[in-house]
C-alpha cells in the first residue's frame, strides 16, 4: 500500500481524474472530498461489505420459505382500498 502524508487542503490524484482532498481533521475523524467522473462510483467500504453480506444471506432462499412468504403476503395485502 502506498502511504502518503497530507495536510488539510492538500490532495492526491488517482489516475487522470480522481482527486481526493483532505478537508478537515477533527479528533479521529478525517473529512475527505472526492472529485471523480460520473462513471466512477465512490462508496463507503464498510457499507459495501455489509450489503454484500446481506446479499449473501438473502440469496437463493429455500422454495418452502418463498412459498410460505407468498401465502402470508397475499393474506396481509387484502385492504379495503385494494381495488385491483
Amino acid at each position: 500500500m502506498l502511504v502518503l502524508s497530507r495536510r488539510i487542503g492538500e490532495s492526491i490524484v488517482i489516475g487522470d481524474d480522481v482527486v481526493v482532498t483532505v478537508l478537515e481533521i477533527r479528533g479521529d475523524v478525517v473529512r475527505v472530498g472526492v472529485d471523480a467522473p460520473r462513471e466512477v462510483q465512490v462508496r463507503r467500504q464498510e457499507l459495501l461489505t455489509e450489503v454484500a453480506e446481506a446479499n449473501r444471506g438473502a440469496a437463493s432462499p429455500a422454495p418452502d420459505a418463498v412459498a410460505g412468504l407468498s401465502r402470508l403476503i397475499s393474506g396481509t395485502r387484502k385492504r379495503p382500498d385494494g381495488g385491483d
Partner: protein, 135 residues
C-alpha cells in the same frame, strides 16, 4: 424460481449494469412474479441458475420509502422520466414474516423500458440494511 422461467421469452431479462453487490459477475437476471398479485418477485440469475433473490416493491411495507436516485444512476439505467423507474427491495427470508427483513440501503432499481437495472448503494447511512417487514 426455475429454469423454465429463464427460458420463457415473455419474462423480462434485466441487464444489471450495476450488479448485485458482492456478485459482480452476474449481469443477466430474469425478473419473474412469484404470486398473482405481483407483490413478490424473483430475480433469477441467468448466468448461474442456482442464484436468485426475492425482491418486492417497497410500498406495501414501507409507505414513506422514497429513495433518491442521483444523476449517475439515472444515466446508467437510461432513466428519462420517473415513470421508467421500478424500485424493488431485496428480502432476506426468515422463518416467519416477523423475521423477514428488507434492505432499504441498497434497493434494486430497474428501468422497465430499457430493462437495465442495478443495485444502488444509497447515500444515506441511516437507512437500514435489515429493516423488519412486519410492523
Amino acid at each position: 424460481m426455475t429454469r423454465e422461467h429463464a427460458a420463457d421469452p415473455d419474462v423480462p431479462v434485466l441487464e444489471m449494469v450495476r450488479p448485485m453487490i458482492g456478485f459482480p459477475d452476474h449481469r443477466r437476471f430474469a425478473l419473474t412474479r412469484l404470486d398473482e398479485a405481483g407483490a413478490l418477485c424473483a430475480l433469477q440469475s441467468l448466468d448461474e441458475p442456482g442464484l436468485s433473490f426475492v425482491v418486492v416493491p417497497p410500498d406495501a411495507f414501507f409507505e414513506d420509502y422514497r429513495p433518491e436516485v442521483d444523476d449517475a444512476v439515472g444515466a446508467d439505467l437510461g432513466i428519462e422520466s420517473t415513470g421508467d423507474l421500478l424500485t424493488l427491495v431485496v428480502l432476506t427470508l426468515g422463518e416467519s414474516l416477523a423475521e423477514t427483513t428488507a434492505n432499504l440501503l441498497a434497493p434494486v432499481l430497474v428501468n422497465h423500458r430499457t430493462r437495465r437495472g442495478g443495485q444502488v448503494l444509497l447515500d444515506d447511512p441511516d437507512l437500514p440494511i435489515r429493516a423488519p417487514v412486519a410492523p
